[in-house]
Symmetry: C2
Subunit: 259 residues, 2 copies
Amino acid sequence: MNITIVGAGNVAWHLAPALQAAGHKITAIYSRTLAHAKELSRRLSDTLATQSLDFTTIATDVVLIAVPDAVIVAVANELKVKPGAILAHTSGSQPLTVLQTIAGERAGVFYPLQTFSKQKPVDLQQVPVLVEGVMEETTKVLEELAQSISRQVARVDSEKRKQLHLAAVFACNFTNHLLGISHELLQHAGLPINLLQPLVQETIEKATAHHPFTVQTGPAIRHDQNVIEEHLRLLQTEPELQQLYRLLTDSIQHRSKKG
Amino acid sequence: MNITIVGAGNVAWHLAPALQAAGHKITAIYSRTLAHAKELSRRLSDTLATQSLDFTTIATDVVLIAVPDAVIVAVANELKVKPGAILAHTSGSQPLTVLQTIAGERAGVFYPLQTFSKQKPVDLQQVPVLVEGVMEETTKVLEELAQSISRQVARVDSEKRKQLHLAAVFACNFTNHLLGISHELLQHAGLPINLLQPLVQETIEKATAHHPFTVQTGPAIRHDQNVIEEHLRLLQTEPELQQLYRLLTDSIQHRSKKG
């Protein structure tokens, strides 16, 4: 297929080469900042780098809109494409409807469920890609496109994608923050940062193999009040961390009661 | 060395065979419940299973006390060993002093920094073992014992071990709880539980390679108020999760300001 990519950020950075490697042609890369579009187009072959959203002269089956959530609609409104091209955004939290008024039946979603950064290669074959379209024909095209780069493709509608995104915030964004807090606590204590790595890895493996609530360990689930109070005392100069510690401890104890 | 293990729970279950494989002799396994001691002794050779804490007739260089934190002192008080034997507990949260009144200069700590369950094999070579002793001679013996089963041995005093334990609560216990919440959110939405696994794994890898605060992603760090409010709306029937969501979002936003 002929693919045009709007955006040259982290998502575009990984999607574009993977799509090209799968045999598609990346006809153009758009970025507001031309240098960014050029940086990405140099990793591809025969790809136009452009600052213009007028693609009416460019062969395009699918336009992937890989820009920050807040500007999807603004960018889509400016977009000019050949009739028949599918418009799909790559966002986990935006509904299909944000593109529907602009693209009608050609509106879709093409959401790779992974966190991308330019420095780190990602094996897209292992990354679930969730697709959605206003009509079956659109969904099918996006599904095929997804299957060409990933082994895990699923049709997920906007409502479920929103709930998935919420679950991802807990499992990834919040988890990362807790790891950051732990990192700082180790630093303040003058302890090696990597000391907890085997324990973190094991925790994740267990939480993957079982329902995490059934393998919960630590002072909260043991209702070990002495240790809990000692920890709160250690956090006395960090009221925010104290509050987090208390709330997470309470939440662990409540969940275990629910069984 | 001749090792006696007090306790037949998860820690003893993994330590005993590893120590034997390293060439030590496990002379006895104690459990309050004889059947538990027998279950573990059957995995070893020439090991006595016992319900008695009188080891005065048993050759022992080191007694490892691998029982729940709350009963360490009670068990140690009852313990009778040959003169000269070292007494070490395996707890991350208990100070050395809990054994010092009983064992004097022969008191120590032998803390394998991992979460153990009987069902799951653990490569102890990769598990940091933190040791501490009242006097250098005791520390040295425990250090040698640790080095015989693990590649990562460190001397860590009680105050630092306490801070390490606090960091582990954030990085492991609390993280596991968030994964449990995410698991439930996926279940409620009727989505496959394994959908987030690649994302979780990538999050952990990134948080290991970098300071987690520098690779934070998601609506909180982007100050994406629309998404945050939508998520809080989705959680409206779960006030506890709403509160957790709010507090973690605030905490992420405050930390990023600190830089």
